[in-house]
Amino acid sequence: MRLEKCWFCSSTIYPGHGMMYVRNDAKIFRFCRSKCHKNFKMKRNPRKVKWTKIYRKLHGKELPQDTTFELERKRNRPERYDRNVVEDTVKAMKKISETRVEREAQFWKNRMRGKKTQQRREDLAELQQGIHLVKAPTALLEEPSLTLPKEKMKVKVSVEQESKAMES
């Protein structure tokens, strides 16, 4: 039994799942589900399809290269069965997948670093532009503390313009 990788999305294909397509040049394509197969039939390039692992690795969304991936690399030479080796491998598999999860989490964290401050800045700018959508201009003038609790911001609102717009 062998756990294969889907050609399109790179997810694991467990026994009982998926489909194998053999092209006449003897190239084999394995798919984990019909979604991937259908995309393949549409001749989509997985490198351009956003939800595939290949795309994500290519575009820096996920950990691209790491030593933890080495264990899963396909080895075509069969190894002589050795009980100790099997035992060690099973232990290693567990440890390595834990490490990989940690590293991926770290990668995500690094990727998202600075996102919060950027988000803040963007929100502020949006507020500045569109505060009239949120609060009536008269309310702002009356109680400036009502509107923006944390950030102090100068919001220029012209009351005459608003009333003119409403009349017309």
Partner: protein, 133 residues
Amino acid sequence: TIRPQTYSNVADNSGARESMRIRVPGASNRQYASIGDMIVAVVREAVPNMPPKGSEVVRAVIARTRKGLNRDNGMAIRFDDNAAVAIDREGNPKGTRVFGPVARESRECHFAKTVSSAPEVLRGIRRNRMMLR
């Protein structure tokens, strides 16, 4: 599934190119033939100047189908085309080479044996035979 009147490519160098299935021998009204079944077919298109002529009746073993197979381990296999290999009445292949991948389910014993010992293997793009496990 190969039904009557189904055209399939001939995947060997016996001289036929395309064949059309007529019957499945052994059952009176058997509709469907799949990978590994022997069929009786008529040669529809042949390589010029070679033994099988158009409209010659020939036996063949189905090597590939688009419908494919379902394996016991749950994996479903589909091929690119429908293809058959021409054999004679005993089950020995008529040609010397088989083109393209072949499923292990081509059950004819003679067929499998001769194919495994086929003389030439085209490496690279097209492989003579690939037994899919």
